[in-house]
């Protein structure tokens, strides 16, 4: 088994649905660029950050964590048997971060100044750290993806007509690039892991400065650690989730052996996160807020409940053997981490002067869904044309 382009038509019923959702999102997005953020979003001077930062950016970064956890597993710890999952996870991370950058670009008011942090630095700012790390990491992800592109084209360069004269030189260049990349790739792989641990945690530091404006159930000085641990915990479930969806959609045999191993490895990772999360709650005695059972408390309890349920499911041997059960457990973890990011950036943000309660607008939701749809479409396109998913040749 080796990574091969999936032999499948790009178009299907699902693709059309996704395309409609994407176009709908882009339509709302055009209003944002024409009439400003106020025209599309429910954001105001009391709630400056909403769905786009909480879900598209924060949850997006967390859910792209499969890229660095799988790279660490397969390359740093050299578990060769997991190589089959590295490329799909890398592709998800690459596309995930591309969309995170896109979401940042649409959310910041002066999108044309997005390059400013490159030359205007503020070392005190957690956001600066996140911004720079994400920019470098995205570059690293693209470099890590390059061998897949060279592999696709080496020996197959075939320009039409008069350009055919370039076939040989381009092929030679690709080979040179491939050789250079395979000699230096270990630097990028380690850099990718280091950069990920840095910005996954700094994403948690972001809300620390909000101080009392953030609900005590979430506001804690260990936020960066909680963000890092939850990102590590959601990495493998995200790979399981995608891999099972891809094998269903492309009618391939699911890699159950690898996936159930990933499921078992998730147990300690998730356990560590839950221990810290609950430990933090008990040390700061914030359970009194959770025991109020109001909307905020329920949001907190559901985020923990989803993860606890998945944790208990994964403890059972039955779960890791059955694709349906494994898929359910992985989905629960993804939902739990997604809800955690939503809570940290939206539910927990309770400023002193809160004149209007924030709810995401139809426009914000449309753009978020449109972005996800577009991401899935590009993913499908790439796995059909590039050697990403490992499977038997038909």
């Amino acid at each position: 088994m080796k990574p091969l382009p999936v032999k499948k038509n790009f178009f299907s019923l699902g693709v059309i649905v996704l395309a409609v959702l994407a176009v709908n999102g882009l339509a709302f997005l055009s209003i944002r660029f024409y009439s400003g953020l106020g025209a599309v979003t429910n954001l105001d001077n009391q709630t400056p950050w909403g769905l786009w930062i909480g879900v598209d950016v924060a949850a997006g970064v967390a859910l792209a964590a499969g890229g660095f956890t799988s790279a660490a597993l397969a390359h740093v710890f050299h578990r060769e048997s997991y190589h089959a999952i590295v490329r799909p996870a890398l592709l998800t991370a690459m596309l995930g971060y591309t969309f995170v950058a896109f979401a940042v670009c649409i959310d910041i008011g002066r999108f044309y100044y997005i390059w400013h942090p490159l030359i205007m630095w503020n070392g005190n700012s957690a956001l600066f750290e996140v911004g720079i790390c994400v920019m470098i990491y995205m570059t690293v992800l693209y470099i890590e993806f390059l061998p897949i592109v060279t592999e696709r084209f080496i020996g197959k360069v075939n320009f039409p007509g008069a350009l055919a004269a370039f076939n040989k030189p381009v092929d030679a260049l690709l080979k040179l690039l491939d050789r250079g990349l395979s000699k230096t790739m270990f630097v990028f792989i380690i850099a990718g892991v280091v950069l990920s641990t840095l910005h996954q945690s700094s994403l948690g530091t972001l809300m620390v400065i909000a101080g009392q404006k953030m609900h005590p159930l979430w506001q804690t000085p260990v936020l960066p650690l909680l963000f890092l641990l939850s990102a590590i915990a959601v990495g493998f479930p995200m790979i399981i989730f995608e891999s099972l969806i891809a094998s269903k959609s492309f009618r391939l045999k699911p890699e159950m052996k690898i996936l159930s191993n990933l499921g078992s490895m998730t147990v300690p990772l998730l356990g560590i996160y839950l221990a810290f999360k609950l430990g933090d709650m008990f040390i700061r005695e914030t359970f009194i807020y959770a025991a109020k059972f109001d909307y905020t408390a329920w949001m907190f309890l559901s985020e923990i409940g989803l993860l606890l349920l998945a944790f208990l499911m994964l403890l059972s041997r039955k779960t890791s053997g059955s694709p349906a059960m494994l898929f359910t457990a992985a989905s629960l973890i993804i939902a739990g981490v997604l809800l955690n990011r939503f809570n940290n950036f939206i539910t927990a943000y309770k400023p002193f002067y809160d004149t209007v309660t924030y709810y995401p607008s139809i426009g914000e939701i449309s753009v978020t869904i449109g972005c996800i749809a577009l991401l899935v479409l590009i993913y499908r396109f790439i796995v059909i044309y590039f050697p990403v998913i490992s499977h038997e040749k038909k």
């Binding site: 080796k2 959310d107 910041i108 395979s182």
Partner: protein, 318 residues
Amino acid sequence: MIYIEHMNNIDRRNFLKTAAIGAASLTLGSATVKAADKPLSDDRIGILVDTTACVGCRHCEWACRTAHGLPAGELESYSDNSVFKEYRRPGNEALTVVNEFENEKNPLLPVFVKSQCMHCEKPACVSACIVGALTKNEDGSVTWNDDKCIGCRYCMVACQFQIPTYEWQKSIDPHIMKCDLCSERRSNGKLPACIEICPNEALLFGKRSDVLKAAKNKIKRKPDTYINHIYGEHEVGGTTWMYIAGKKFDKLKMPPLGTATAPGISEAIQHGIFAYFVPPVTLFALLGTMMWVTKWKKTNGSDEPKGKLPDVNDEKEK
């Protein structure tokens, strides 16, 4: 004290910048470091709001709008008291607003409280800003730089007083709007507009140390009029604008804040993670060693060529 602390910060920040540039371009030493913020002057500005002296004429609102080129309308229209029915916050079209509160001691004389940027001694917005578009100036004022801001609104998330506002209706060139202590007027030798127009000596402008002394004297002389609390003396590490009042400040919708500076914990975490770039570099070295060791173990048990660097294309060769 402030000066010493400040120097430490500068050293750390400079090092961070140098190291980051070095890592990025491998040209150590060619680092261009942004001019470090100047330490706060001992003569920095302080302003006292005596809420017992304010009559709620809202002339300051008009003067502020006029001074900042915002639609101000006629001064006469500001005597309309109906605006007090609803609590208002400073916004992108009014950098200062006055609100009315009940006066239990004398219901006929309500309490009026002016709100605007507090110009913190250790401002969260300045610490948070991704590009350093907000500056704490030597004179105490906190100002916004149009040429740097990317419109991310993290300053709004960070500010404990919820002061910076944003021009939501603009798609091109939206500004972060907040009181700048009339930096343009002051550079021409004038007082801030609100202070110049205030008819009732509700606003006292001067050196922070003098203003603080005056506030303490007022409280000492009239202990029946004032509660013994100068809001802004210690809140979030102190602010330029300070308030005295006849009733507790949480009854005047001033957020109850501790004395710890707003960016304190955040900066400590941030500099902890990046302490002289040691943790990231150590992690890199650790992972590199791990990679090499696991590879070595693998190759010493199989027929793969030895001494080859590990790479992602491993699976291709098999």
